[in-house]
């Protein structure tokens, strides 16, 4: 994965972000569509410095939070932290293993849901059962979508 910071890579990231909003918001698929925003941030974070990844997370968080009433800051904070953590994960493993990458995407998405829950926890949130039952499934879905999109990207480069 390392060393692909050319325009093609950033175009790939931009396509993932656009697809996320088009599928989830524009076409109204909601959670039927994978969380490609988090996938895009996690993939990009592996390629850039921690500061840049955090900045990208902040930017994507502002866009994402703008869609949700009264929740602008929470998405921004969570995606900033996630971008930073994603960049730092290179210190754990900098290889190209697909298994590691799948685990990375799965853990990243789960971490995202957990942090978002902790920050936005309000009286009617679904609670810990959501994090233990639904969130792992959405994380699995995001990891699968991330691997598929990465494979498509690799096929074209």
């Amino acid at each position: 994965m390392n060393g692909r910071q050319d325009w093609g890579f950033w175009l790939f990231i931009a396509i993932l972000v656009i697809l996320h909003f088009v599928l989830r918001v524009g076409l109204g698929f909601g959670q039927l569509a994978p969380d490609l925003l988090v996938v895009a941030l996690l993939i990009a974070a592996r390629e850039v410095r921690a500061g840049v990844a955090a900045g990208l997370g902040l930017f994507l968080g502002i866009i994402d939070g703008s869609l949700v009433p009264f929740a602008l800051g929470s998405s921004a904070v969570v995606l900033t932290v996630l971008g930073f953590a994603g960049a730092r994960s290179r210190e754990l493993n900098s290889g190209d293993s697909l298994v590691f990458f799948a685990l990375y995407l799965f853990a990243g998405k789960w971490l995202f849901d957990t942090l978002l829950y902790l920050i936005t926890g309000s009286i009617f949130q679904p609670g810990a059962s959501y994090l233990l039952l639904v969130s792992p499934l959405t994380a699995l879905y995001a990891a699968a979508a991330g691997l598929v999109s990465l494979s498509v990207y690799r096929a074209f480069t």
Binding site: F21, V22, R24, V25, G26, L27, G28, G30, Q31, D35, R49, A50, G51, V52, A53, A54, G55, G57, L58, G61, I62, I63, D64, G65, S66, L67, V68, P69, F70, A71, L72, G73, S74, S75, A76, V77, T80, V81, F84, D113, L116, I119, T120, S122, I123, F124, Q125, G127, T138
Partner: protein, 328 residues
């Protein structure tokens, strides 16, 4: 550099709501504009295909209602002209759809597919066929954001249908985690029976009087203080918050606007002894014989000029011209 971005994100998190919404509105109007336009188109397409049988039934009900109402409205106007009374204008409303973003949205908040261009203003009440949904918080050009009764910030001044007990309705978690409301601050000496209908009281000017909220489901807490709280089972469940009406500004009549007639509900005569109040009223679901029979005790019933909700089949009024729309 990462610390700087993190600090910026934290500032955003703790920024006052108005500034945050201004920034979010800017992003929605620029970067997200194409996505939101696509979303609006998709929702309109879905609505066109949604349940044609139900829509046809509603259209037929409305047509039948209007045919029956025309003569009554004309007679009402003539009588008012004779008496020198102004015409009571029905409140305006805008029909819209509620859009939620699963997985991201805060509980109890949503977007509405109508905005400033449609005449929606911040604070406007949002209702569904069964009753109160919530209110508008922020308004953009073509969309608005609102909160429903599940939102922690939701409060509504409420009362029993006959006005015997007043209180504040606010969100609670009921038995088994069920989202409910609580009627707080009611006098301790008044006992509300299960099933008692609770409506908005109109106090505070946020919601007009008479919008059904829910029915009493039981008491909350031990009631050790001088006030009592009751759990309310809301009439509009989260699953029913798809198609809504956003009410316009109140009519300039100088009197308190009461929308109870629009839901076919009417306060029964107050109990002679308020200390043993048992039943506030019954929700009939549609205009019926119980809504307003002019009698000597009630010589001037509310006219049914309120919004006739599209989601609720509306029956034509009885042929008797002394019915709900005959006087006002």
């Amino acid at each position: 550099m990462a610390a700087l971005f993190f600090a910026l994100a934290l500032i955003l998190l703790f920024l006052p709501g108005a500034y945050r919404e201004a920034l979010a509105g800017g992003v929605r109007a620029t970067l997200l504009r194409p996505v939101l336009a696509l979303q609006r188109g998709a929702i309109e397409r879905d609505a066109r295909l949604a349940d044609p049988a139900r829509l046809r039934a509603e259209r037929d009900s409305l047509a039948a209602f209007l045919v029956g109402q025309a003569a009554l409205a004309a007679e009402n106007q003539q009588l008012r002209d004779i008496l020198g009374l102004g015409r009571r204008l029905p409140p305006t409303f805008v029909s819209a759809e509620v859009v939620r973003l699963p997985g991201r949205s805060l509980e109890g908040s949503f977007q509405v597919t109508a905005g400033q261009r449609d005449g929606i203003r911040p604070g406007a009440p949002i209702v569904a066929a069964a009753g109160l949904v919530g209110r508008v918080r922020e308004v953009d050009g073509t969309t608005a954001t609102g909160i429903d009764w599940m939102n922690p910030d939701f409060r509504a001044s409420a009362m029993t249908l006959d006005g015997e007990a007043y209180g504040i309705a606010e969100p609670r978690r009921g038995p088994g985690g069920e989202p409910m409301l609580a009627l707080t601050g009611t006098p301790r000496h008044i006992r509300l029976a299960e099933g008692t209908l609770i409506v908005t009281s109109g106090h505070g000017g946020v919601f007009p009087r008479g919008i059904p909220i829910g029915t009493i489901a039981g008491t909350e807490g031990g009631g050790e203080s001088w006030q009592k709280s009751y759990l309310i089972r809301p009439l509009v469940s989260p699953a029913e918050m798809n198609y809504v009406l956003v009410l316009g500004p109140p009519e300039p009549t100088g009197t308190m606007q009461d929308l109870a007639a629009a839901w076919g509900i009417r306060a029964e005569a107050p109990a002679p002894d308020s200390a043993t109040f048992e039943q506030g009223g019954q929700l009939t679901g549609a205009p019926s014989a119980t809504t307003s029979e002019p009698t000597t005790e009630n010589p001037e019933p509310e006219p049914s000029t309120g919004p006739q909700l599209l989601g609720e089949p509306v029956r034509p009024p009885p042929a008797d011209t002394t019915g709900p729309g005959a006087a006002g």
